[in-house]
């Protein structure tokens, strides 16, 4: 059994050490907001936070996490920046199919955690790992700037 601190709660999971966190979240714990997109850290759909930092869960062996704190899309709204990002996403109607947006929101929130007022190049650098096949990039860019302005 592996103990994981997920969304503020310690949860014991029966999983092999090399199993990526993505599948632990989705298939063992039913936390399906974190998405599978590519399995090779190319698309960012599986982005979660480890101690507030964006990581791709599809390649993260669950045994390597130890006592670091995992936050998923299901709980990101409980953080100040996460709530701002979600609000900006709704205000600017970013979402289309929505499948990638969990990952986009996790990456955007991590960006605001380190860079409260990102410019276009900060946004490009932080968000280029997240593919949106519906092409919502124009609105993602605006929504991150909007979120940064929310008091």
């Amino acid at each position: 059994m592996i103990n994981l601190r997920i969304n503020g709660k310690v949860t014991a999971v029966d999983a092999p050490q090399d199993m990526p966190l993505l599948w632990v979240l989705r298939d063992l714990l039913g936390l399906t907001g974190t998405k599978f997109g590519c399995g090779i850290a190319q698309c960012g759909a599986c982005t979660v936070h480890l101690d507030g930092e964006a990581v791709r869960s599809c390649l993260l062996p669950v045994g390597s996490i130890k006592d670091r704190s995992i936050t998923t899309i299901e709980a990101i709204g409980e953080t100040s920046n996460g709530a701002k990002v979600q609000k900006a996403w709704l205000d600017l109607e970013v979402v289309q199919c929505g499948y990638c947006q969990s990952g986009q929101i996790m990456s955007a929130t991590a960006l605001l955690n380190t860079t409260p007022h990102p410019d276009d190049s900060d946004i490009d650098a932080a968000m280029a790992g997240n593919i949106c096949r519906c092409g919502t990039y124009v609105r993602i860019r605006e929504a991150i700037k909007r979120a940064a302005q929310i008091e």
Partner: protein
Amino acid sequence: MMSAEPIAPSIAGIDASLSRRAFLKVSAATGGSLLLGFSLSPVKAVRQPASETTAFALDAFIRIERSGLVTLIIPQVEMGQGVYTSLAMILAEELDADFRRVTVEHAPPSDALYANPAVGFQVTGGSTSVRAFWMPMRKAGASARAMLVEAAAATWRVDPATCRTANSEVIHEASGRKLPYGALAGRVARAAPPKDPPLKALQEFQLIGQPARRLDSPGKVNGSAIFGIDVLPPGVKIATLQASPVFGGKVADVEEAGAHNVPGVRQVVVLDDLVAVVGDHMWAAKKGLEALQITWDEGANANVTTAEILTQLQAASERPGVVAKSVGDVDKALSTGKIEATYHVPFLAHAPMEPMNCTVHVRPDACEIWVGIQVLSRAQAIAAKITGLALDKVIVHNHLIGGGFGRRLEVDGVAKAVRIAQKVNGPVKLVWTREEDIQQAFYRPFYFDRFQASVSGGKITAWSHRVVGSSILARWAPPAFVKGLDGDAVDGAVDFPYDVANIHVEYVRQEPPAVTTCFWRGVGPTHNIFVVESFVDELAHSAGKDPVLFRRDQLQGAPRLRACLDLAADKAGWGHPLPARVGRGVAVQSVFGSYIATIAEAEVDRNGKVKVRRVVCAVDCGIAVNPDTIAAQIEGGLIFGLTAALHSEITIARGRVQQSNFHDYRMMRIDEAPSIEVHLIKSDAAPGGIGEPGTVAAAPSLANALFAATGIRLRHLPIDRDVLAGRKPA
């Protein structure tokens, strides 16, 4: 972009049991009448016995609970295009429902109740949803409203004409009385709806035309939205699969031992054309699959290559085809001297962000399916066929779709999942790896186009276009493939918008070996508008005319399109100077019932690297139901099309797809995305389609911009950096 007042409607969960129960009854009561009478959507009141449900189904699209909750059943699937919101707006507009408190629900499979009027069965695609359901939804809403008014008037013993409705209430102004719809639901007495319910005048619309918050957004920003891939029925196992890497190949031998040593692997399923591993979770299934040793009988396609396919298409383009359109005398008009060119575009995969998946539980007496699919009734039918069960024993739960783009117009995935599930005891969720999703797909056809044209006095005097490629319709909807002509393959070519006296368009069907082709976002016009608008651009330059003026002069017969062109040119600053190696390109289109002019601005560096700086679109799509969604669809459609123009190509070698994941089947990312401006032209015309057109607009406007920047004409896609850098001939 536009904003709306915050409102908080919701989408019902995935439990379809209530709606299924309610609507099977509705279905039994109405028979196939909805399908037969789409020009006037029939509405029947069906009283549900109180013991079964507290819901009251006014018709197939509207259910009103006694609590007052208004549920709108949306026949079209939500895959990002905003259709749950736009169709709900149309229904709620005529129903006068309080839009802040409506709930929308996926329709269950039923061609009888939910056929797309434009197609004849239940299908979401081709930018048809708002166009085809515009009047049926208005009439359904208006009929239900009329019945509620009648019930209230009877209660009050007043003339229905003295009542009005607003915010889910019937109001009798003279006496100051009001009754909420919920209270009236049980009193609607008449068995038949009014035949010709009064519809609102356009100026009476309160929802339509105002930007509305999407109903599906809240669940998509907090992780609670359930896509097909997210379902977890009790006891579900997870499986992943490998089909023959060579199209059409068969399993020769499987050495299973390795898989059974992987913890969590439960079962290996070997079918004639694929192998699947079933496990407790995807990690076990994936590792188990990798641990198998599979020998394939590669079959007849083992040597197929893209080069061979191109050669076949090129040869076929020398043959005359089936005439799709012929006006005037092209041969004679061409005899004064002609300009010729050939174009080709590659196979494309859809690569929706949600990989293909389907969850199935086959029991002796029933089959239950959880999936997000654009063709719900076809999913049900294929499962019935494979299992031998009656149609009504196949229960399909539809879900939000994490990107369709045409890939989910196909039921090959459902078929594979059902075949595997037949070998598994209990429910099994089959999830494609991204590699399998890209390599075992159906693809946008490889097309080859041959043009001849003459220009005289700055105008096109003859236009001849031969389209060569596979027919999707011949496979997907055989009755629509008539006398060798595929209307989709020439869509965007036959509706050539310019004032030209001599036009000839032909289609030559040439099927590729091995590859199955299917619709891809923008369908026929994605290919045709690229080649047509590129070649028109060639003609403009050969005539020494400005590409906007050249088009404008010949769009006298297309005033809505010309108005778009004028607006786009104005907003884009057409004609204003640009730095070296930066160019503007224009493209116009009138497809899917919408008129669009697009101007792209792009820069090319010395190494041939392209930066798309800006795209400006002027759009006349008729009545804009949800204007913000229209802008969003154009923005997203452009990115989808730019991605393909810049990066996308599926190639075949040794009968196999060579690309496998996002490292070699690249997507445009945010750091490449241009600024995009969408300008809507106000119109009272019937709504046009909007999901496809943005994608259509991208490649031609970009390629024409790159010509303006470099003088190099790009006649095939994707755009080749080596060509733009001058390292390779065009």
